[in-house]
Amino acid sequence: MQNAKDTFYITLQARLAAVNPSRTIVVRGVTRPAVLVEENELPSDAVPLDAFRLRWTVLKVDPQAALPLVTMACEIRYATDGNAGNGGMDRGRLLAAMDAELAAALGAPPRSVTKTSYSTAPPTALGTNVFWGDAAFAPVAVTDERLERVATVEVFCYQEAGEL
């Protein structure tokens, strides 16, 4: 399961960076594409704006097939206050841009990728794929000047023998 989570994150990060290379964040002094997995970062009360935050929630395992089918829900959260230089009046447009970038990255074919183990150096390709469905975009949550949305996507993989 962890390999599928890692593979999905790396794939989504590369796709989002290709869609909009200028969307970056600085995490502990290093600039990288504006995508992160919350559970892999240092705990913080601060919400990174104009960035995509992945949160893994629901997990289901169907043991009926020869290889157990694993279904995981991935919440992709993003928020913006708009540009301060524009008085925040462009926050709707900035959120729409993030909606479009995420939809393009998730919807681009193929919607599957070879599952990879990143716990080895170099990363090792495994025998099955990770694949995902359409993103479900929740209504915008408005908190003062902040617009925030959660998009949920189901990610599927087969649990290979001996895989953790």
Partner: protein, 143 residues
Amino acid sequence: MADLLMDSGAAVRTANVLLRGVGGRTVLLRMPAMASAGDVTEQLGLATPQFQDLELAPVVFRSARATVTEGKATRWELLVAGDAVETLVGSMGYGAAESLFGATFGVLIDGVLMTIESTTASEVRGSAYLYRLVVRAPLVQVV
């Protein structure tokens, strides 16, 4: 006296002396090392950053609220001398105190790592002489 206090240097020194006079103590700021550029292992939770603890003194540590609610983290207040913060900001190469506190993972006080919730600065002529940090104890410490 009024002229002296209008001088930001005097305000900084006064705050420093006052904090020492009311039992100023030392706490440690726990700072994570910079992330590894081009290395995804930290992004995947496979590797953890190194931490370094930086001394911050003089500070006064006190309870920030009178009542403690069950299941809620206790909040504490740290009053920090402005010159101590400026020294750290300069030595660590940060542009501002806000950047330093923003990059801090927590404040180690008597062996308990507390999370910084907010920071405010008291200033004279644009120069900070005192910082007030609201810190939160971890929930496991709540009795």
